[in-house]
Amino acid sequence: MAFPHRPDAPELPDFSMLKRLARDQLIYLLEQLPGKKDLFIEADLMSPLDRIANVSILKQHEVDKLYKVENKPALSSNEQLCFLVRPRIKNMRYIASLVNADKLAGRTRKYKVIFSPQKFYACEMVLEEEGIYGDVSCDEWAFSLLPLDVDLLSMELPEFFRDYFLEGDQRWINTVAQALHLLSTLYGPFPNCYGIGRCAKMAYELWRNLEEEEDGETKGRRPEIGHIFLLDRDVDFVTALCSQVVYEGLVDDTFRIKCGSVDFGPEVTSSDKSLKVLLNAEDKVFNEIRNEHFSNVFGFLSQKARNLQAQYDRRRGMDIKQMKNFVSQELKGLKQEHRLLNIGACESIMKKKTKQDFQELIKTEHALLEGFNIRESTSYIEEHIDRQVSPIESLRLMCLLSITENGLIPKDYRSLKTQYLQSYGPEHLLTFSNLRRAGLLTEQAPGDTLTAVESKVSKLVTDKAAGKITDAFSSLAKRSNFRAISKKLNLIPRVDGEYDLKVPRDMAYVFGGAYVPLSCRIIEQVLERRSWQGLDEVVRLLNCSDFAFTDMTKEDKASSESLRLILVVFLGGCTFSEISALRFLGREKGYRFIFLTTAVTNSARLMEAMSEVKA
């Protein structure tokens, strides 16, 4: 349980500085509008804001009332209104409607818009078009990195995924570059950089430009983090699409961890209240089980519970002094653990997930990953759709089938889509168009099965095409080649007998021993080689021939400790399973991984990002 780190594992840098920076900047911005003001906060920013500055801090800086930005007229009677929003056009229209309503009523107030993490010209233009540009003052709150945990930084930009991988909108890439720049100014330069993916490359280059422009600032600083690895989500969709069975991932899939905390409903708390629980390394019990395969967790928790009970029982027969001592010292720890045993109430997950349905689902997924019994899996998916189990789940399985099989055969492609539309509504015609564009759900071109000869031919074709592809999106031309990659990288471990999930052998444990996450395997391989050398074929199969890069500088300044710290940047989101897998790898090799992601994601979030919903 909870494998300890190797004694030589490096210390993690202290990321709490990022929080302080963000808080100070926010306070400064609030003070720019002196006097009482009402603060309108965009829903998406509420949780991140809560991690940075609580209500009392806001009140200290004369924030009077808090409102959520929503499509309703505001009831605020304050003379000063401050809006804290993401740079989105719909927010601009909301603000404009408010300001224009005031104008009609002959009312003048002060308005200030704080964009986080930055403002976009398009937003200012909309303000201008709406005729209120002169009435509001605009500012930026460059809050782009939220430390969710000691080793996890999130940009909290879930829209990055859709904006870039579906719409081809590159505006967030600069934000990523800025964030990396901030990290390198705070924690020293990164001597070794690796990356894969078009977006990774662009972000890297923009970041480099920033560093060059502000030459000298980071020069001479000792690097604290030895390696940085940038990875596009579309390099590995498969991992993100799998059901998560590691505890933290499972909690995320079931209850949705939002900004590092989760709301446990009444069914979990076994009371009539919901409970918000912060999940991170400070939580001792959680920290021990977060990276575990869920089959181990239950036993562990019951053991814990028994211990706890025993400790509680010790109260009997204590005299007052002992009792006092007990309360002041042990109860503190105990209480926390006890609260956490609400997690024990995750029996509710267990109940759900150990049911036959879930096991069959996992079985199907494993079959898809390994590429056998495709017909059976296809029928399973069909039945899934027919029974209207869940629109998102059905979609996920279809995508998993498509990617692992290099696209669906035309007959299945048509029939599954037809079934899906009949079950879940015709607007999903657009969802399918999105998925096709992102390369998540495609149709096999005739004769698209891979033979050795054909794969050579296809190499010629894709190489030629690569030169010609000017489209910001070449996904259409992309083939996932999952099977070939899986073989090359040995993603499906050969298992003799039962895979002992209690004593994991490799990263495959995060998927019950059936599959090593592709993204993590790539990272492992590159770190081992310190380059992409020898991985040419894999890179080609990933359609990333032009977008795999290495950049090393002299390491003489880097301490050996820092060289075992690796920052992994996931562009488009990463899952808890990947985090667990890399934490495992770190323990094995004496590394520590730090994760920077545009947002923590999972299969449902990915699918929702691609789905068209009737507004």
């Binding site: 081809g168 600069n174 923009l206 079950s423």
Partner: protein
């Protein structure tokens, strides 16, 4: 050798004044200084001379010449004056020459005689003409004060940010004041003027009479007044030959002196040094120079030639046709060194050298003397020595230099196009590149692009050779300058050297190279920049061309599409149309069918358009699906009309389910047929719906209608979900052998499940059953399984 202190002149008990030669001038003046308008800039600045033909009644046809010289008399520029009569000349703090014309127009020239700009001092000045004008310097910049023919004053405190202020009238003023000057107090410029025995102070609101404290009686007129370099002190020269010296606030008298000369002096200026307690004024007549201060005696010099005084921070420069001298109070430090025993001539350099030797000798005896200040002093002296060179002609003292700062000195060298010297100084002082060398190179390049006789290629190459990629040099700034000179091609060439593509964009836009700007913006990765260019293009090009440009730039296209999706839906449609992107056009109309349209007819029409687009895109699947949706919509509408309830916008599956739940089985089946719902789906659907209704009878009937395409296990599962074990058992018996065990376990018949599993001899099934054996009741069953297992192993 001469004595060091030979030229030291005592004034009172405590101060010495000394006058020494800076340069001997060989500027070949054709005119006498007295015939010229003269302006010399402070801090060793340039000298401008304009022979004033308007003063005497000479033929106006003779065009005067404006000459500009360095302080050492090197000619910098010479031009024929073609504009109107000039009343006064003066240098601004940026070393621009301001020429105040009689009509109130002020013409501004550069150091090299290049015309910069002009401005007017207002209509009132134009009408009444300029009688007299002063150029003055304050911390805000350089100002101009004008006395008009109507005896009114107009002033602007900063010619860089021209705001004219007309000063209030002086009551009863009939003739021009005998003398006047500009005072600067509390950051506001005032005018002090003398009319007969009276002094008036004009601020922007009022005119008030003032009296200097302790002024000797008998004054009937003031002939001269002088305000010190720092505006702190004021000196007044009266017609009785009496000099009053006090604070500029006129609140305190410092000292007075009676020189007994009643002739009006030509010039009177303050001569003091910062942080010195000594106050002295230098008064010049035609042939006589007098230094007076708080002492009964004055120092007197004879002037051999017509001379001109230039007040400086720490002394007075005096130049004539043949020499340029500096008069100042001997610094306390020198005084101490040389007071008693002394030698040699008075060149500051020599003195410095001596001080250097002394210091360098003396520092050997000090252990803990930090060398920094010594080193810095040596460096500064070298710089001063270099700029004082005859060819450069900037004679600065150490205190002037410190006041001016090295940055301004470098700017002045750049202004004189002395780039190599400036760069040498930067390198010598080891200034950071961005402040030093790069800045100067950039200035040089900006000058270079103005050389019209050199070809674009040569200029660009020369600039790139010299600048390379020196940090801090902005090629786009240089390009902007080139563009400003009308050299667009050169500007584009220079921009090519700019490493930051984002920097290239604004200028390219200005030069109307929008398409190039677009690709540069895309290169920069800054989406905001791309967006800016897009809006430019949108206004500049017609719609068709704009769309064509977008088509070739996918990144910009995506960005613009995103914007249109939220803000300009119609444009989005046009974009797709233009590209013949029928697939996206179809999607667009699909979205419109439920987002924009509300009436059913509108929705169907939108779907029809979508279907047509899909056909054009050869996406038959989408086209068919869309047509199905049209049919479904119409049908749902009919169902709502006929049956009531909510049908619109349900999926096909949900529509059928709703029908079954409402008891409209016939309709449901009809719909299933019409839309070719596959059997499997229909069975799942009916099964779920009937179980929801708990219509067990109908369910049983349905189960027997034909062989189930989904088997009978789902029947068992769903009955159990509704907790109807009785019904579930019915179906369990019909489940095929493969799923029999599962079914039996579902209904809780562990014993029978065990029997079937044993019969199947299936290990997996056996373990499954075993895992269901709980408690005492199943004990026997568990044993049975174990026995069967044991038996199987024996065999």
């Amino acid at each position: 050798m001469d004595c060091y202190t030979a030229n030291w002149n005592p004034l009172g008990d405590s101060a010495f004044y000394r006058k020494y030669e800076l340069y001997s001038m060989d500027w070949d003046l054709k005119e006498e200084l007295r015939d010229c308008l003269v302006a010399a800039a402070p801090y060793g600045g340039p000298i401008a001379l304009l022979r004033n033909p308007w003063r005497k009644e000479k033929a106006a046809s003779v065009r005067p010449v404006l000459d500009i010289y360095s302080a050492s008399g090197m000619p910098l520029a010479s031009l024929l004056w073609k504009s109107g009569p000039v009343v006064s000349l003066g240098w601004s703090a940026e070393e621009e020459l301001l020429c105040v014309q009689e009509d109130g127009a002020v013409l501004v020239y550069g150091l090299h005689g290049d015309f910069r700009r002009h401005f007017s001092m207002g209509n009132e000045v134009l009408q009444n003409r300029v009688l007299d004008a002063r150029i003055f310097h304050t911390e805000f910049g350089s100002g101009v004060a004008i006395l008009t023919g109507a005896h009114r004053f107009t002033l602007s405190a900063n010619v860089g940010d021209l705001k004219l202020r007309r000063m209030p009238e002086v009551p009863g003023l009939q003739s021009a004041p005998s003398c006047w000057t500009v005072l600067c107090q509390d950051r506001v410029a005032h005018i002090l003027l003398a009319v007969g025995p009276d002094l008036y102070l004009l601020d922007h609101a009022a005119c008030s009479a003032v009296t200097p404290p302790g002024l000797a009686p008998g004054v009937s007129s003031f002939l001269q007044m002088a305000v010190s370099f720092t505006y702190r002190h004021l000196a007044l020269f009266t017609d009785t030959g009496y000099i009053w010296m006090g604070t500029a606030s006129l609140k305190e008298k410092l000292c007075e002196f009676n020189c007994n000369i009643r002739a009006p002096p030509k010039q009177m200026v303050w001569c003091s040094r910062p942080r010195s307690k000594e106050r002295a004024v230098v008064v010049a007549w035609e042939r006589r120079l007098m230094v007076v201060g708080d002492a009964p005696e004055s120092i007197q010099f004879v002037l051999d030639e017509d001379s001109y005084l230039v007040p400086e921070l720490d002394g007075v420069r005096i130049f004539s046709r043949s020499t340029h001298e500096f008069l100042h109070e001997v610094p306390a430090a020198s005084e101490e060194i040389f007071k008693i025993a002394s030698m040699a001539p008075g060149a500051l350099l020599l003195e410095a050298q001596k001080e250097y030797e002394a210091a360098s000798f003396g520092k050997c005896f000090l252990d803990r003397f930090p060398p920094d200040s010594f080193v810095h002093m040596c460096q500064d002296l070298r710089v001063l020595n270099a700029v004082r060179d005859y060819h450069i002609g900037i004679p600065l003292t150490y205190s002037q230099y410190k006041q001016l700062t090295i940055q301004v000195l470098l700017d002045r060298l750049v202004l004189r196009r002395l780039y190599p010297l400036a760069i040498q100084i930067c390198e010598y002082l080891r200034l950071p590149e961005v402040q030093g060398v790069s800045r100067i190179l950039a200035h040089w390049a900006c000058y270079k692009v103005q050389q019209k006789d050199v070809s674009d290629e040569d200029v660009a190459r020369a600039i790139n050779q010299k600048l390379g990629d020196t940090p801090g040099v902005s090629y786009s700034d240089i390009a902007a300058r080139a563009y400003g000179c009308g050299r667009t091609e050169l500007a584009i060439k220079l921009l090519e050297y700019e490493p930051r593509s984002g920097e290239q964009v604004p200028l390219l836009l200005k030069m109307k190279r929008s398409k190039l700007a677009l690709s540069k913006a895309i290169e920069s990765g800054d989406t905001d920049l791309v967006f800016t260019v897009l809006l430019h293009l949108k206004n500049e090009l017609n719609r068709g061309d704009f769309f064509m440009t977008l088509r070739n730039q996918p990144m910009a296209l995506s960005l613009y599409r995103q914007f249109c999706k939220h803000q300009e839906l119609e444009t989005l449609k046009d974009l797709y149309n233009q590209d013949d992107n029928h697939q996206e056009l179809g999607s667009f109309h699909i979205r419109a069918s439920y987002a924009a349209e509300e009436r059913i007819e509108g929705r169907v029409a939108a779907l029809q358009t979508a279907a047509d687009a899909f056909y054009k895109a050869k996406n038959e699947f989408a086209a068919k699906a869309t047509e199905d949706q049209m049919r479904l919509l119409r049908l749902q509408r009919r169902l709502e009309d006929e049956l009531g309830g909510q049908f619109l916008d349900l999926s096909l599956h949900d529509t059928v389910t709703t029908l079954i739940l409402g008891g409209h089985n016939k309709r449901a089946e009809q719909l299933a047929r019409d839309f070719r719902i596959p059997d499997k789906r229909l069975w799942w659907l009916k099964l779920t719906a009937l179980a929801d209704l708990e219509d067990w009878e109908e369910l049983e009937k349905f189960s027997k209608s034909k062989k189930s395409p989904i088997g009978y296990l789902p029947f068992v599962e769903i009955c159990m979900k509704q907790h109807n074990k009785y019904e579930a058992k019915k179906y369990a018996s019909r489940v095929g052998p493969e799923q029999k065990v599962k079914a039996l376990l579902l209904v809780g018949d562990v014993a029978q499940a065990a029997d079937v599993a044993i019969e199947h001899r299936n290990e997996a099934e056996l373990s499954l059953v075993l895992s269901h054996c709980t408690g005492a009741t199943d004990g026997a069953t568990a044993d049975k399984i174990q026995r069967a297992r044991a038996q199987a192993q024996k065999k």
